[in-house]
């Protein structure tokens, strides 16, 4: 028969041990929930960027593509953001497990709920253009991000292989000046017979399929918007027509 009650009570009294105040546990709970909410918001932001990337995913026409569609698709996947989404879901699950009723829900169901919450929030963020704004800001302000971001303008900017991406800075009758994604200036010639010329307008970000004809001179066979589904007001293409319409000469 074990008898420790007196020993324990003496320890409590001698050590002047007191129950921790309620506010400490309250603050801890608030902190856990705040972290969880922040993680889900972060997951939403990541989902918004992923939505932006997937909705603007666009493969070059088969006849001018540098690689088979599957390979192009795999090359273009935003791995960084996919990994970050998985990490955010992992942390959200862990944080929820720290809440008082965190053990009540099965981990798989919890993962599904958190992914759904991230996607719904991501949809809202995407709708308000927040995803692309974050993606753009990181691209402009964080040089290493360009290397790992898998953004179309960087993975498709390969003039030797007939792919050029960038922003139109100056237009003339049969050509325009393009500041490519690697900050080089190209003169791009195009035929007036191109059906939809609305893309050739200063400030538009485009991807061009064609070939190098001279030093820093490129001949366009096909011009398409860099981000066909960009939200209006966030760098969507200017001109009479918008959208992912293909322009073929």
């Amino acid at each position: 028969m074990i008898k420790v009650e007196r020993k324990i009570l003496d320890k409590i009294k001698k050590g002047n041990i007191k129950p921790k105040p309620k506010w400490q546990f309250f603050a801890k709970n608030i902190f856990i929930w705040a972290m969880l909410i922040l993680t889900i918001i972060l997951g939403g932001l990541i989902a918004a960027i992923l939505l932006f990337r997937f909705l603007n995913f666009d493969l070059p026409a088969h006849n001018i593509a540098p690689a088979p569609p599957t390979k192009q698709f795999l090359l273009s996947l935003p791995y960084l953001w996919l990994v970050l989404l998985i990490v955010s879901v992992y942390f959200a699950v862990k944080e929820y497990k720290f809440t008082k009723k965190g053990h009540k829900i099965n981990a798989l169901i919890l993962i599904i709920i958190i992914i759904t919450a991230s996607l719904v929030l991501g949809g809202a963020f995407y709708y308000f253009g927040i995803g692309e704004k974050v993606d753009d800001s990181l691209t402009n302000k964080l040089p290493p991000y360009k290397i790992i971001s898998q953004r179309q303008e960087f993975i498709w900017n390969n003039p030797e292989k007939g792919l050029l991406t960038g922003e139109i800075v100056k237009t003339e009758e049969n050509n325009f000046e393009l500041k490519s994604s690697d900050d080089k200036t190209w003169q791009v010639n195009y035929c007036q017979c191109i059906k939809d010329k609305f893309l050739v307008e200063e400030g538009n970000k485009v991807k061009i399929f064609g070939k190098i004809v001279n030093n820093m001179e490129f001949e366009a066979k096909q011009i398409r918007p860099l981000f066909p589904n960009r939200r209006p007001g966030f760098g969507s293409v200017k001109g009479e027509q918008r959208g992912p319409k293909r322009i073929v000469n």
């Binding site: 028969m1 074990i2 008898k3 420790v4 009650e5 007196r6 020993k7 324990i8 009570l9 320890k11 409590i12 009294k13 041990i17 007191k18 129950p19 921790k20 105040p21 309620k22 400490q24 546990f25 497990k97 008082k100 009723k101 965190g102 053990h103 009540k104 829900i105 099965n106 981990a107």
Partner: protein, 195 residues
């Protein structure tokens, strides 16, 4: 010294009283010390001296965290959870071998795990109960724990879920697996409980 009528108070009432006067904690300790000691003995192999130390740690931690006691939980689940965590911590620290249960306890466990009809008579049961020591000692800690909580501590699935902090469905699965593992291990060890 508070009046003996306080023994009739519920755990929750005693918690409230303890928060006002530490002397009432004595009743909580008296109520749980033997139960927790038995539980710890059942899931791990430690000396009585160590057991006393762990018990002191459990009750002091519980006292410090009394304000965190979730009224939606049973107090017993809450304090069993603390006991579980402390025991596991100690177990990991010491890497002590799994405890061989008392023959009497094994008998109860066996009768609940297996169908009672499998046993011919009391004598056979007692003989077989001795073999359970060896089988249980071979089981993984998590399997041994759920079997002890379910069949010896007689906790409901919900209580086990709160003690081990696992979903109820997982607890059910764990108990089923533990029972199967128990039978499989017994079979491997050529111990037959069905004759």
């Amino acid at each position: 010294m508070p009046h003996p009528r306080f023994y009739e108070k519920t755990d929750e009432e005693l918690v409230k009283l303890t928060l006002k006067n530490e002397e009432y904690y004595l009743y909580i300790i008296k109520r749980y010390e033997e139960r927790l000691a038995r539980y710890i003995r059942r899931i791990t192999n430690i000396s009585e001296e160590e057991l006393e130390d762990i018990l002191q740690e459990i009750f002091i931690q519980a006292y410090k965290n009394l304000n965190d006691f979730d009224k939606n939980l049973k107090f017993s689940s809450w304090i069993y959870r603390i006991a579980h965590n402390k025991t596991i911590d100690n177990y990991r620290r010491r890497e002590s071998r799994p405890k061989i249960l008392e023959a009497k306890e094994n008998e109860i466990l066996l009768s609940l795990i297996e169908d009672n009809n499998h046993f011919q008579d009391e004598v056979e049961r007692k003989l077989m109960a001795q073999s359970i020591n060896e089988v249980l000692s071979q089981l993984k800690t998590n399997y041994r724990e759920v079997l002890v909580l379910r069949f010896l501590e007689e906790k409901s699935y919900e209580e086990i879920s709160d003690i081990l902090r696992k979903p109820i469905g997982t607890v059910g699965t764990l108990i089923n697996r533990a029972k199967k593992e128990f039978a499989k291990t017994a079979n491997k060890m050529k111990i037959n409980f069905e004759e």
